[in-house]
Amino acid sequence: MDLQNQQRVKDVAEKFGAENVVVILGSSDAEGAEIYAETVANGDPTFAGPLAGVPLGLAVYHVFDEAIRVEADPALWEEQISMMEMVLDTEALAKAVAGMREQYSKFAL
């Protein structure tokens, strides 16, 4: 994850409290989604950024996870996201993030 964005995630968690923060990913591949999820839950696995060795434990979901989908406005979902839903492996993406969340997150919805 972009080092600047790692810092911003860290700042948000410090400002609002990690238990109040939920991270939602829009990644296109499962491997990338896993790295993002691991970074915000357990720290930067590459040890390059501000989250290296900082296990924030944030609740993290892919946007295609049913828990997030049910929160979205159906008409806007259709307009904004449904096209990508047809071309991406939504189940694999949601599952990849769920695996990291179950392993490392201290919080969940």
């Binding site: 948000v12 609002f16 991270v23 296109s28 591949d29 295609f64 406005d73 996201i81």
Partner: protein, 43 residues
């Protein structure tokens, strides 16, 4: 109200996946407080 209501939400979108603004738009009615939204790209 759903489970996202009142939560501070960070959106990490992706240009080749689902971009940040698309996720943000869809969640406006959920009561979530989007505090940071970005769209990364890998080029």
């Amino acid at each position: 109200m759903g489970k996202l209501a009142g939560k501070k939400v960070v959106i990490l979108g992706e240009r080749d996946g689902v971009p940040g603004p698309a996720i943000e738009t869809c969640l406006k009615s959920s009561g979530a407080d989007v505090v940071f939204s970005v769209t990364e790209c890998f080029v």
